[in-house]
Structure formats: structure tokens, C-alpha cells
């Protein structure tokens, strides 16, 4: 079972700079555990000690926000695409030049 995970710039220090990594798991929680086994530390950047998603982190499964589909209990299937993004202001323009 392969699930494509898109990693934001801010978390790529955990993935050796990779933008996309593969993972597996029947739920989002299982997927994050699987990712953390190979990219140690990434899970605690996404999930708080009390087991909730970090306030400023949004995770989407096939472009849908998981906070409305069961959060960490959201079920996953082979071929699903998971996108992790930090919350930013609406209407934010992309940067013209990368930050130094």
C-alpha cells in the first residue's frame, strides 16, 4: 500500500530535502507513525502532545481537509494523496524569490 505524501518546505529537514515521500497506513494516524519511523521527529511537528493536529498545520487527503473527515482517524486507501501545509493568511501571494 503506497500513499504519496507532499511535504512542505518547512518540514523537509526531516525528509532529507524530499518534496514527496511514500508512506503506508490504513488511517492518517498510522501513516504518520509510519513516516516517523523513517523520518524521525516529523510526527511531533504535526501532532500535539494531547494527540490533536497542531493548530497551524493543515493536512489534506485527496485535497480534502482531514479536520472534516475524522482528523487522525481519517481512513486511507492505496493511491491516496496526502498534502501537509502550514496555515497561512488567505489571499497570500506566492513569493517571487525563495527566502534566504
Amino acid at each position: 500500500m503506497a500513499i504519496d505524501v507532499r511535504v512542505p518546505t518547512i518540514l523537509r529537514s526531516y525528509t532529507g530535502g524530499a518534496k514527496n515521500v511514500e508512506g503506508s497506513g490504513n488511517t492518517l494516524a498510522a501513516l504518520l507513525d509510519d513516516l516517523d519511523s523513517r523520518h524521525s521527529g516529523i510526527r511531533e511537528r504535526l501532532v500535539t502532545e494531547s494527540g490533536d493536529l497542531h493548530r497551524f498545520v493543515n493536512i489534506y487527503v485527496n485535497d480534502e481537509d482531514v479536520r472534516f473527515t475524522g482528523a487522525l482517524d481519517t481512513t486511507l486507501a492505496d493511491g491516496d494523496s496526502v498534502t501537509i501545509l502550514p496555515a497561512v493568511a488567505g489571499g497570500s501571494p506566492p513569493r517571487l524569490t525563495p527566502p534566504r
Partner: protein, 316 residues
């Protein structure tokens, strides 16, 4: 046809039109509320008018006052028009990489623009505006991200208009920026339409905008209350562009790119309604026309070319 005492009196009251060619079946129908038919051409006229009126009523705004606002475009243009008519000076804090049309419109209305760094996007514009507000205690920052009058405008106007024109509404789909449209309209409809689904379409930009140094630099508008929403979708530039073009090709509606993102989410829920065999009347917001985005390259060439042109530009 209708007659109004002044341009400001004509805010709202926009038409709802069916989208017969994009609707998937006779049982699952889509409807567009044309917010580009507002005085300055966007849905933001509603929030701007309400925020100004509220500040006047509270005595915070008097003629000659300076209004300050972080804005990426449409809200600034709405405020600039109202400020001109009411005798206020307007200072907009805008990320420096915004389209030329928006800057020219603001300047024509007499607004002053303070650039915030492109690096950091609207987060930086908000931060700079808050700093300027602290330095100039006599300036009035309306602050659309946290001003209850923004959501109230939609609770009192957009919501009732939609329900009057489409009493069979089952889904409401709109863009998520300040969150005012979804919070206000969503709350109104939830109170009156059992089972209604409130669906958010959030623009997903090029990845550079998400390059915060730290997750704790993230920003959630103070107005946002996720209990109002049923679902929330993230829509990338490619899908938004495809749908923006489909709206022109199939229905003749020339809309801005954020409307394409909203249509994408709406078509998704429409397809699900067909699959589950339920009847649906899906209302979506056309936020503005495409005019202000022509210089971005979004409407020329292939989708791939337009997508490349949008990388590094503001599209919602």
C-alpha cells in the same frame, strides 16, 4: 431594473444564475451568485461597506479620518471607493507582488499603498499593518480578518438573498480567505436549512508561500470557526485555471481565478450527489470578474503556460 439613491445603496442584491451546462443532471443543479455585479466588481463590497458603516456607528470614523487595511486587492478597492465617497484617507498595506490592475485601481480612487515584502505574503501585510496601527493610534484599522462586521454583512445580506432566490438550496460553496463569506452566509443558512452543507474552497498556492521559518508563524483569521463548515477543500492553480476556463466556455461567465477554485470544489460535491442519487441545488459564489487578472497570464495560452505564469503571482 432597479433605481438607487447612490452607488453605495446598490451594494448586494446580486443575481443568481443557473449553470445548466455544467450541472451534471436534472436532479443535481448548480447555481452561481454573481458577486462581480457589485459596485467595484467583487464580493468584498459587502464586507467593506459593513465594516465602514459599523465604525461610523461606533463613532470610530469621522470625515477626515485615515483608514488602514492589509489587503491583497479586492477589499482595498472596495474600501477605496467608499473612502472616496465618505471623505476618508485610505492606506492599504499590500504585498509588493500584486497585479498592476489592482494597484492602478487603488491609486485612481486615491488610496495610498504601502508595500509589504513579497516574501511572507499576506502574513507580512497583516503584521506590518498591525505595526502601523500601533504607531498611528489615530488611524482606524478595520481588519477584515477579525472584524465581525465582515461576517455580519454576509449573515444579513448574502445569506438571505440566496435563500430567497434558491429556497431549495442544499449546498453553499465559497472561497476561504478572511472566511467572512463562509462564516456569515454559512451561519445564516445553517439556522434555516436543515442538513445544508457549507463547503469551503481554499486556494493552494505555489509552495514558496508556505515557506514559513516555523509552524508557529502560521495564521488563522480570527473570524474562522470551523464548526460552521461541513467540508474544506484545497484547490491548486491548475484545477482553478481549468474550471475558470470551463466557466467561460460552458456558461459564458468571465470570472476571476478564485472562482475557478470554488467551481472545482462545487463540481466535486455535485459528482458525489449524483453518485449517491440525491437531489441537490448547489449555490456557489462568483467572487469577481477576470478583468483584474488579465496581466497575470492566466487567460492566455495553454493551461500549462497559464499555470507557470501564475507561479509567483497572486491569484485569489
Amino acid at each position: 431594473m432597479a433605481r438607487y439613491d447612490s452607488l453605495l445603496d446598490s451594494v448586494g442584491g446580486t443575481p443568481v444564475v443557473g449553470l445548466p451546462r455544467l450541472s451534471p443532471s436534472a436532479d443535481v443543479r448548480m447555481w452561481a451568485k454573481l458577486e462581480d455585479r457589485n459596485p467595484t466588481g467583487s464580493v468584498k463590497d459587502r464586507a467593506a461597506y459593513y465594516m465602514i458603516a459599523a465604525a461610523e456607528k461606533e463613532g470610530r470614523l469621522r470625515p477626515g479620518c485615515t483608514v488602514l487595511e492589509p489587503t491583497s486587492g479586492n477589499t482595498g478597492i472596495s474600501l477605496a471607493m467608499i473612502a472616496r465617497l465618505r471623505g476618508y484617507r485610505l492606506v492599504c498595506v499590500m504585498p509588493e507582488n500584486t497585479s498592476i490592475e489592482r494597484r492602478q485601481l487603488l491609486q485612481m480612487y486615491g488610496a495610498e499603498i504601502i508595500d509589504s515584502p513579497a516574501a511572507g505574503g499576506s502574513n507580512q501585510a497583516v503584521a506590518l499593518a498591525k505595526q502601523l496601527a500601533a504607531e498611528h493610534p489615530d488611524w482606524v484599522m478595520l481588519y477584515q480578518y477579525g472584524n465581525p462586521a465582515n461576517a455580519l454583512a454576509h449573515y444579513e445580506t448574502t445569506g438571505p438573498e440566496l435563500l430567497a432566490d434558491l429556497p431549495t438550496i442544499t449546498h453553499f460553496v465559497a472561497g476561504l480567505g478572511t472566511t467572512g463569506t463562509l462564516m456569515g452566509t454559512g451561519r445564516f443558512l445553517r439556522e434555516r436549512v436543515p442538513g445544508i452543507q457549507i463547503v469551503a474552497a481554499e486556494p493552494r498556492y505555489g509552495e514558496l508561500v508556505y515557506g514559513l521559518r516555523n509552524v508557529d508563524e502560521g495564521f488563522i483569521p480570527e473570524l474562522y470557526d470551523d464548526s460552521v463548515l461541513t467540508r474544506r477543500f484545497s484547490v491548486g492553480a491548475r484545477d482553478a485555471l481549468l474550471r475558470t476556463r470551463a466557466l467561460i466556455e460552458e456558461e459564458g461567465i468571465f470570472a476571476g481565478i478564485s472562482t475557478g477554485a470554488i467551481l472545482h470544489a462545487a463540481l466535486g460535491v455535485a459528482a458525489e450527489a449524483v453518485t449517491s442519487g440525491v437531489q441537490a441545488d448547489i449555490a456557489l459564489i462568483v467572487c469577481d470578474g477576470g478583468w483584474k487578472y488579465l496581466s497575470t497570464g492566466a487567460y492566455a495560452g495553454t493551461i500549462a503556460e497559464a499555470e507557470r505564469a501564475l507561479e509567483g503571482q497572486l491569484w485569489a
